[in-house]
Every structure is written in C-alpha cells, then in structure tokens.
Amino acid sequence: MADAGAALRGSHGLERHHLLTADFGTPDLHRLDVYRRCGGYRSLEKALKEMAPEEVHAEVKASGLRGRGGAGFPTGTKWGFVPKDVPGPRYVVVNADESEPGTSKDRYLMENSPHLVLEGACIAAYAVGAHQAWIYIRGEYDRPHRLLTDAIGELRTEGILGPKPFGKDYPLDIQMYRGHGAYICGEETALLESLEGKRAQPRSRPPFPAVKGAWGRPTLLNNVETLANLAWIIEHGGAEYARFGRERSRGTRLLSVSGNVERPGVYEIELGVSFRHVIMELAGGPPPGRRVKVFWPGGSSAQVLPEPMLDLSTDLDEIARAGSMAGSGGVIVMDDAHCVVKAAHRLLRFYAHESCGKCTPCRTGGDWAVRTYERILSAEGSAVDLEILDRIQESVQYGRCLCALGDSAGQVIASTMQHFRDEYEEHALRNECSAEVPRRLDRTPRTEPHPQQKGAS
C-alpha cells in the first residue's frame, strides 16, 4: 500500500489533551480553506495585528514549552538568544530532518496538517524579527515535501506569505530545502552546513546559531513539533498551555510508538502520563503471549530502560533522573522474543554509518564497536571484547565528540550492557542466546565489508 491511502495511526480527536491533533482526520485538512475553516491562521493574524513580537515571545515563555526535537531546551529561552539589535537579515529554520530511529511524529504532523507547521514557522519568524523561513526536510519525505510545497503555494496566492500578510507591513516568506540522506543533519549546526550546500559536519560552538547561523546570520532553529504548538499557544495563551503537563514539562507531546506492540502509532499525550499507559494501553502492549523486555523512551539514542521501568513518567526531567532521556519522543518497544545484543549491534551499525567523520572518537569508535559486535555474535567473542565495548562507550561520550552522535552511540552500548550484562556474557563467553528468537536464530550476522565512513572514499 502506498502512503497516500494510509490511515492515521495514533490518537487524535476531542479529548482534553488533543491540542495539536484535535482536527486530524478532517478530510482535506492539508488544504488551506479546510485548515482555515478549523480556525487555522487565526493565531498568526492575531499575532501580527494585535501583538508585539515581545508579547508573542512572552506567551511562549509563559507556556513552558520545551523543544521537541531531542534536547528539550526551553523554547522561549532559545528565542531570547537571537539578538535584537543586529541589522540585516535573520532566519528561522525549521528542522524537519526527522531521522532519529523510532521517530515519526514530525512526518505525521506534516502529512496531516502542513499548515499547522507553516503557521508556527510564521509566528516564530515574527517573534524573532525574521522575514524568511527555511524548511529543511529530509529527502526521503516525498509526501510531506509535496504537501508543504503546495501549502506554501496556497499561502503565496492568498497573500499570507508575501509583502503584507493580513494587511500588516511585515513581509514573510518560507522556502523548502531537501536533505539528501544523512542522520547528522538533525544536529542543528550540521543542518546549517547542509543548507549552505556543504558536507553536513557539525560546527564547533560557540558561536551558536542564534548569533551566527545560516550564512553567518542570526538563525533560530526549531523542530517541526515545537513550532506546531505555537498556533494553540497564541490562540489560548501561554498560561492555558502550562495547565497541561507538570512541573518543568508543560503541555502535550507526540510519541511515536513502534516495535513489538499491537497498535504502533503516533499518540498525543499529556506530559506526565506513564510509559505503561503509552505502551500497554494506547499502543496495545506486546503481542499475545509476549512481554515487554526493554524500551527506548526517546529514540534509539536514549538509554534503554528494562520492563520494570514501565511505570516511569513521560515527564522530561523524570526520564533524565531515571538515567535516560525524553529525546525525540520515539518509543521503541522490544519484547522478550528478541535479543538485546543483536539490537545493539543493529543500532551501532547505524551510528557507525551515520558518523560524519569529523571527529576521531566517533569516526573510529562506531566502526570498532560494529566489528566487536560481529565477533561476539559470530561465536568469536571473548571477555576481551566486552572490555573493548566498555572502552569504546567511554571514549565516545562525555564531551569527547563535537556533537551528540558519539554520546548516542556510547549510550546504546553502555545502557544495554548495564541492564543486560548477562546476555552479553552469554554471547561473548558461551556463544549462547537465551533470548527466545523464533525467527532465524541460526542466521549468522551479516559480515559487511569494513563499514565505511560517509564520503571517506
């Protein structure tokens, strides 16, 4: 089945906590007239006509909204870093390069309501004094790209993008830019390099993008979902938004639940509900007869949490206190029919492949780890290999790399070894796998030629 006919998988509708997804499922919501009939662009009109940029900023601060891309940085604070008094152009860049394994919520937003994202980008542009926004979208997102391009066309025709949106003398425009398949572009400085047409290797910071970003100009980068919250916040007020969620995790967020669950999907939840609710109730839990073995609470880069942690709250800070991170909201569930060591091997292949090659620990560490996993999984492992893995995870974390990719790779090794040391030892020392894997236990791991760094040719 091609994507065009795919049914919505997830939660939307009129529940109290459906702030972003309330209108999802409305036929043709991607069209401007339908979106406006649902109240769309009222917030942008309100911001432009009735509010000063500082007032928009104040509402976002009051909402307590934190970035939904992965780091969870307070959005209002980030906006405050964009200098007010620098003459010349400045930009808003929408990070639509969603590629954290297990994360699909930005695609879900863009496909269901492209205008919700565009309205947010316009509001953010107005708040930080930008007239031009860019949407950096991953190249594989063909349908979201088409929908957003069409939506921008509608806005230009209607004059909402143009010299005088809603009659206000504040020119606005949005342009699309397609990525070409590189996970690292989700990292904001690598994204900027890519936007400028270069190899996407992260920049060292400072200067931060807010001061010196795209083409050396002040640039605000926000994730798709972060921006999608703005229309609601401007319409209802930041204080109203802050009534959802708890403590330092305000509002709702979209969690993409995938892996071994009966109803994988993108679910909008109020922050603070438990992972048990998300995984066992919303997503229907594991297949009959199986139990949850382990889950990744926020994309593959988040440290794994074993089944006894299911009662953990989705509050960002509580996940951090539990030794993991809320990350991108990609909840990957693995049941007891699967082997943790094999899963970690698969993820390390990913991090090794996606390392940009700029700094040494990440470039060589990922590769070493993959080869070590291959030895362990092909019955050639020993206690030494476990020590090697431990040394690798130590050497790519703790600020030894320019960006978080190294840390992410290290966290996969460290957290799986921490919680499932026995499985590692079974494989490495005894060449056994007690994880019941009915599907092709006999399969030897693919031995690939030396996993090449990108562009190392």
């Binding site: 997830g10 394994p101 063909d142 892996g259």
Partner: protein, 144 residues
C-alpha cells in the same frame, strides 16, 4: 545539492563527468562537489536499477521482519547483494536507515512514495507490476 539532483535525475546516478559539470557551472572545485556527493546517501555514484527499493532495516522495522523482506526482495529480483542491479537492469534494493514511518513497519520507499506494512505478497505485487509495465512499454515500442 539541487544541481546534483538534476544531474542524477537525468542520468540515474552521478558520473564523474556530471559532477565535474556541476562544479564548472557553479564555479566550484570538482573535489568539493564530489565531497558533497559522497557524503549523502541519496546521491548514487553507481547505477541503480530502474526500480530501486529503499528498505528500512533500522530497529523498529527489523523487529517486525524487515530483514526477511530484504531477503525476499533479493531472491525475487535475483541479486545477492544490496545495491547490486538485477541482470535485466530493472531492479535493485538498498538497505537504508530509519525512514520515519516506524508505526507502519516494515516499510520502504519506492518510486517517491512510502509503502507500508510490507509482506512478501505486497512486495511481489509491486515487482510483478513493474515487470508488466516494462514489458508492455517494450511491446508498444515494438509495435509503434
């Protein structure tokens, strides 16, 4: 990168000549352009089949059978390796990282669109349709 897109669309993949031409047009160093092209996985430096399958095998898809889907495609199109082009030049399959449609795993990208909840049957239907399309267009050429 948009210039490389145009070249790839026209040629099917990026040849050394194409990259040099892009470099010349944009007044860039040829090595720089090649450096950009080799960095990104959506730029192909070797030919692909006319029908190229990008199958996600990252964790969420693998947990739901993506590796088996890859094996099935390889067997049906008659190749041993990823990125190998089938003898008739029609097909190739590539293993790719997470495509961001994890709730529909296993899934793949094919002909600028996502295909969800893959099963061997669904894959067979697509492969058969591609073969029929090609043979009917060859018929038209033969009779036209």
């Amino acid at each position: 990168m948009p210039a490389l897109d145009i070249a790839q669309e026209e040629l099917g993949y990026l040849t050394a000549d194409a990259m040099s031409e892009v470099a010349e047009l944009l007044n860039l160093d040829a090595g720089y352009v090649e450096g950009v092209a080799t960095f990104y996985s959506l730029f192909h430096l070797t030919p692909t089949g006319r029908h190229h399958f990008y199958v996600c095998t990252n964790l969420s898809c693998t947990l739901r059978g993506a590796v088996e889907i890859c094996d099935h495609i390889k067997q049906r199109i008659g190749v041993e390796e990823f990125k190998e082009v089938s003898a008739d030049g029609l097909f190739s399959v590539e293993e790719v990282e997470c495509l961001g449609a994890c709730e529909y795993a296993p899934m793949m990208r094919y002909q600028q669109s996502f295909h969800y909840d893959l099963t061997p049957d669904k894959v067979d239907t697509l492969i058969d349709a591609a073969r029929r399309e090609v043979s009917s267009s060859e018929d038209r050429e033969a009779h036209g």
